[in-house]
Symmetry: D2
Subunit: 152 residues, 4 copies
């Protein structure tokens, strides 16, 4: 894994907002995914490669790979919004470059452009071996829309 101690962290307020939202995503808990870095415009999510994540050949399923990539991009966008804004995925495209092997996957969402209405993110997913060797297994691009948080 990258040396994340070297990376810029988002403010505590933003980190809390991202963690609270992530913790409300039943799917992330069900998959066993966890947030490992929340920087301004950049979020990492790690997914252990359990058998429950597999496709028919034992590699991580494209759906699980995509799920953490989509969430990483969504939260990367959210780090740049103020607190009354939410984010929804409009669409994404992902290339599965090579079988998703490793003890875990690490998805990295990075904001390419943050506009008033739309945000575009780059999505990368690495397969990480027990010895730390990393390989890019998926690469994608995502469009998100900012929505005003409904009053509660």
């Amino acid at each position: 894994m990258e040396d994340e101690t070297q990376q810029e962290q988002a403010s505590p307020t933003v980190q809390k907002r991202v963690r609270d939202s992530f913790n409300r995503q039943g799917l992330m808990a069900h998959l066993g995914a966890r947030l490992t870095h929340i920087g301004p415009g950049r979020v990492h999510i790690v997914l252990p490669a359990r058998p429950e994540m597999a496709q028919q050949h034992g590699y991580v399923h494209a759906g699980a790979t995509s799920a953490i990539a989509d969430s990483a991009g969504g939260y990367a966008a959210l780090t740049l919004f103020n607190e009354d804004s939410e984010v929804l995925t409009v669409e994404y495209k992902i290339n599965l470059l090579t079988p998703a092997a490793g003890t875990h996957l690490e998805a990295i969402g990075t904001v390419l452009r943050s506009g008033r209405t739309l945000t575009v993110c780059q999505l990368e997913v690495y397969g990480v071996q027990g010895d730390g060797e990393r390989k890019l297994v998926a690469n994608g691009q995502q469009t998100l829309i900012r929505v005003t948080r409904p009053a509660e």
Copy 2:
């Protein structure tokens, strides 16, 4: 749901091959997805909308929506291959058209073009209410590659 009794079924051999592969996908079982139709060039997968599938607002997460869409397209491609061929997703693009609400989702993968090496599928996901009302919640397009099954 559509009246699936009216739809063309794949041969028993093909159906068995698809079911066997689906049953080896740990992720599909973990999500609670099941195959509901296997026709030539067309496969349906249903996913109950449990809390474990949710994003932060309680709708089905784009990752779960995508996972069943990706598998439906992959198996639609597989129905047109002979038994020594396997299929891998090269890439897909999906638009999340509206929040994925309903008691369950139904993903439909349909082969648009089946070539010697590459297959292109259309992906549709419907949100289905308890009263049977259906709404298109996601629409996508997928590229797959045929690979020769490794000798066992």
Copy 3:
């Protein structure tokens, strides 16, 4: 070509708005493309397959194929807007299914979902032979955003 006399036409006002905008697109004139159908949520554009459109093997270049597909989708979206709205392409994805052969190409843009801010279109491009035989050569999906027309 399809029998376009059978297809629903947009109102004269909408048709004029689409034609006026199309006529301001220098690229469409430079490519030799022309509008052949303007229906509500559906627009056709035809492109003669001149040598100036070719890629290195003599087929129509993916860039020319995409250009008419993108414009067809954009104008399909525009037919459903009121007169103070304009449309911009956010993104699109296109599969080139087979070499784009024929005397001309016909691009068809069809609105899949028209929302308040975003519109999603399906894009199809057919290669048409002199004898009228048609073949789907490209298939895509496009996201557009509605913007308020700047005061003139």
Copy 4:
């Protein structure tokens, strides 16, 4: 523009192969595009922003932007092939990030992964002003297939 004298050049043989193919693309000449850099796995194409390239608001049309992006990616892939291989675009996805303004556009295609059959490229297009100021106007991802050159 970047200081291209600092960038690694492809071998003269590869450069010639790319230039010969580019010169057979009628569309590139018709648009007025030219090759400005041919490195191993990386190709640049420049397009002057003439009125013939415009959409209805005077910016460069998404179709022209995409055409040079697609060709840049295709030739980036080709630089890594041996001489009996050709390349065809399977699909691409492109986000138009901001209006394509400038005196010219520069498209950069970069190989992300070069496999035996498939290549995946990143596509970037910059709008460049007369004073050299550059802005990313489009970003995309492309899948290409290697084909054996037909005997002549």
